[in-house]
């Protein structure tokens, strides 16, 4: 891409990205959270991660549901067995690689 066009794009992207992150710095001091609001905010990470996982994990490979299904199950079972996060992650990647290699694709 031409550098001049790119600079405009970069500045614009920086603005729309950083503004959403920095806004609460100036808003949060003015707001006192009630107990209920605090609970709401504490639930947000759980609900946002869940909403990000499902249903889009099934289309992690646009052609085959099996990749997201088995990769996700592998991560879930590993975490349930109390393995560290990194180990669960690696097991999940390995399971996906096995699915591709052995043709477990549907």
């Amino acid at each position: 891409m031409e550098n001049k066009t790119f600079i405009f794009l970069l500045i614009g992207l920086f603005a729309v990205t950083y503004s959403t992150r920095v806004l609460p710095v100036f808003a949060v001091n003015k707001i006192k959270f009630s107990k209920k609001a605090e609970l709401f905010l504490n639930l947000i990470p759980i609900t946002s991660m869940s909403a990000l996982i499902f249903p889009s994990i099934l289309s992690v490979d646009a052609s085959y549901i099996s990749i997201g299904l088995f990769g996700g199950l592998a991560a879930g079972i590993s975490a349930w067995m109390k393995l560290p996060t990194i180990v669960s992650l690696l097991i999940s990647i390995a399971v996906c690689a096995v699915c591709y290699e052995c043709g477990i694709l549907f």
Binding site: L23, L43, L89, A97
Partner: protein
């Protein structure tokens, strides 16, 4: 813990994020080159914009010759969820000076936020967040550079299998919470279901935002105890 220990503990807890960001960064670097960015442009995007989903979407939109305004609006919508996340982080860091908070705010991403929040409340200091956010940001940039510079060199099998990383990480973070509390288990199921139902009607990024907010609101109706 002193400042250095807090910073290092942040770096250490960032390890699952780093493991996720390097491969996804590599994928972005490759995508960026394919959609016509130079290596330095791809790296500048990761250095200054730093939004995984937004940068990926950007590559798609550039390939489709979308207008600058449409691109910026789409990325803004994709980023709206950061308002919520940054509010939570800044609420925990409210004792810090404004300029420090402005600097730290740049580092708020889905994954950094998740790790920050799943850590004990008393350990959520500014230095801890700096360690966590800085190492995550650095790994995203290292990944981008590797992907852009070495586009097409990673074996196809591995680059395909790495796509699961982000989801696997979220699942690994959520499962222990679900095992501990039935309420949280139901909340997770509810959020996923809502996200799926909404995605049938609106774009998936909008569906995620709507499901996140609605599920968290519904959660406050039946969950009483504080969630940490």
């Amino acid at each position: 813990m002193n400042k250095k220990q807090q910073f290092l503990s942040g770096c250490l807890l960032a390890s699952p994020v780093i493991l996720g960001y390097i491969p996804i960064g590599i994928a972005f670097g490759m995508m960026a080159i394919q959609s016509g960015f130079t290596i330095s442009q791809a790296c500048s995007l990761s250095l200054f914009v730093y939004t995984g989903a937004g940068q990926m979407a950007l590559c798609n939109m550039i390939s489709q010759n979308m207008s600058l305004a449409a691109i910026l609006f789409t990325v803004l919508v994709l980023n709206l969820r950061h308002i919520i996340m940054s509010t939570v982080v800044m609420n925990d860091l409210r004792h810090l000076k404004v300029f420090k908070k402005c600097l730290l705010a740049f580092g708020v991403t889905d994954e950094v936020f998740a790790v920050f929040c799943l850590n004990a409340k008393k350990e959520r200091s500014g230095w801890f967040f700096l360690g966590l956010a800085f190492s995550s940001w650095l790994s995203w940039n290292i990944g981008t550079f590797l992907g852009a510079a070495g586009a097409n060199m990673l074996p196809e099998l591995l680059s395909k299998a790495l796509g699961i990383s982000l989801y696997a990480m979220f699942i690994a973070l959520l499962v222990p919470k679900a095992v501990k509390s039935k309420n949280i288990f139901f909340l997770i199921v509810l959020s996923g279901l809502l996200s799926w139902i909404f995605s049938l009607f609106v774009s998936s990024s909008l569906a995620v935002i709507a499901a996140t907010l609605l599920a968290a609101y519904l959660g406050t109706l039946w969950i009483e105890e504080g969630v940490q």
